[in-house]
Symmetry: C2
Subunit: 318 residues, 2 copies
């Protein structure tokens, strides 16, 4: 298995990304090879500082970086020598099996929909996040920012994608899929959510458990997967980020609250495309990079994309 | 001035509501009279327990309660002897000047749009909340649950209503109005938000300051008023409620975090109708009820509705 890692992107790139890749070598299986996309000389120099033989990595020389402030589509179409563009091209050609980056989310998503293919039958890919919740559980929320306006059938498919992800990646046998809403009753919500409720209630493809409100997310929620549109999901995710900043500002130290730090809840996998793609936070530390690489490897080991394909083809038959 | 208080609704009604009304007597001006809508005998008995002469209140006997689980519209149209229905009728007839309740939000909003009139020129009324933010400031968020799908012109009017509220009720001279979004750039957001950005940018009626993201709400946000649709606003508000529950579960004691408790950030005023109406949390304590009554009095003293009318009529002329 070959995992591509973009070393040109991220607030602390290339240093922290290369260090995260070096640290991940302790945990990945012997069959996994890391392919770094970045400036060869710089990677060699960081490895040398750590007394690591750089030949343990395969390096694809990429001299350019797509910056956080760049216009995603424009940058993707012009910065052809960037780690992101070169990574997606390698993924398309089958030279790597998964691709991970802490780069510009918009540019990563542009790569997903222009260079990669969406899985047959999937209307819109989405991005997701595993939120930490009280009691050592995690809760998958999707979409967290790719699709700002979602039709009911798109929300339905997020339920399907989330259910497969929770089974394969989080080890949950029969994941409960809930719809994020502003009331528990089935007639609550905006137009798209009301219609999605009705579609999901009839689902034979996943275990729909009704509406969930945002005050019930942290403490023992009666769900494993929460479906919402990318606008609401992104507001939700960033509100957690804001809560964490507040906690730090108030100098509160608490083990659980520490998990609200994005470094711990990891990257956001893109679901619904033909290869595993993980996008981590721009400000990723080397620990966050290590987690992003391990998450990519888990997606490959658990054959996540194959499971998506099977489930969608089953859905289309029945 | 006569403020109506619904004593039949709320998880701890009538006890806590009457106690909150008694406590508020210490703070309200001598010109303000409280009119309680509830069971006369019960109110007398609670007053007697506290050695308060019940004749300090005017009482409108209301024997029925609209419960939290009742269907709002159905209950409003059938429970004609409830505190909520009797309160709105008194408000319509001018027997009271403002009305406050901890009751079923949907039934309260039904009263607002069926018994009261929307202010001329206002497309949709909305509800708002003053969020506590770090550094002893408050941030007005609207809508927080009345309108789940909002056209761009409706979002624009929320900016107008919020700006007037912040001036009159929060004492902010030139309130900065921001649009809640998932990025700072003007081309971010869902379809309605993108269009609202463009309308708001051209506003001469309020001081638009651009987009704000939810990770910037707690710590020194560069805005005084945040506009969003009622679906997103409700998710946001309930996430704060969830954060507060989590903090309590973790046994963390911190003065600022204590303010995230709904008791402190008060009721949600309905904006855009012809009289002040305040809806408080169903689980309101007597302290929360006292604050709800004081908020109603402030709306009257500051002539909030008159200011709305002036601003809207100005907007329609220019």
């Amino acid at each position: 298995m070959r995992i591509g890692v973009d070393v040109t992107s991220g607030d602390y790139a290339p240093q922290n990304v290369v260090l995260g890749a070096i640290d991940s070598l302790k945990y990945i299986t012997s069959n996994t090879k890391l392919v770094l996309f970045g400036c060869k000389e710089t990677i060699f120099s960081i490895c040398k500082d750590r007394s690591v033989n750089p030949e343990i990595f395969e390096i694809v020389n990429s001299s350019e970086a797509i910056e956080m402030g760049d216009h995603p589509v424009k940058a993707y179409n012009t910065k052809l020598n960037s780690g992101i563009v070169k990574g997606f091209e390698s993924l398309k050609r089958g030279q790597i099996d998964a691709f991970a980056s802490c780069g510009n989310t918009g540019a990563m998503l542009t790569g997903c929909v222009t260079t990669l293919k969406t899985l047959p039958g999937i209307i819109r890919p989405c991005i997701s996040a595993e939120l930490p919740i009280y009691g050592d559980r995690r809760l998958l929320v999707l979409d967290v920012g790719f699709n700002t306006d979602c039709r009911p059938d798109v929300l339905y498919q997020f339920g399907l994608l989330g259910s497969v992800y929770a089974k394969q990646m989080m080890g949950i046998v029969n994941p409960r899929v809930a719809l994020l809403n502003i009331g528990e009753e089935k007639d609550k919500g905006n137009m798209s959510v009301k219609e999605a409720y009705s579609l999901m209630s009839d689902s034979i493809h996943f275990n729909f458990c009704g509406n969930i409100e945002s005050n019930h997310l942290y403490l023992d929620p009666e769900a494993d997967v929460v479906v919402t549109d990318g606008f609401v999901g992104n507001v939700l995710l960033k509100q957690i980020e804001g809560t964490y900043s507040l906690i730090k500002k108030l100098s509160i130290n608490n083990d659980f609250l520490e998990r609200l730090n994005y470094e711990y809840y990891g990257g956001t996998p893109v679901l619904g495309v033909e290869s595993p793609v993980i996008i981590a936070h721009g400000a990723s530390s080397s620990l966050a990079v290590t987690n992003m690489i391990l998450q990519s490897e888990r997606a490959l080991l658990n054959k996540l994309v194959d499971k998506f394909k099977e489930t969608i083809s089953y859905e289309q038959r029945y």
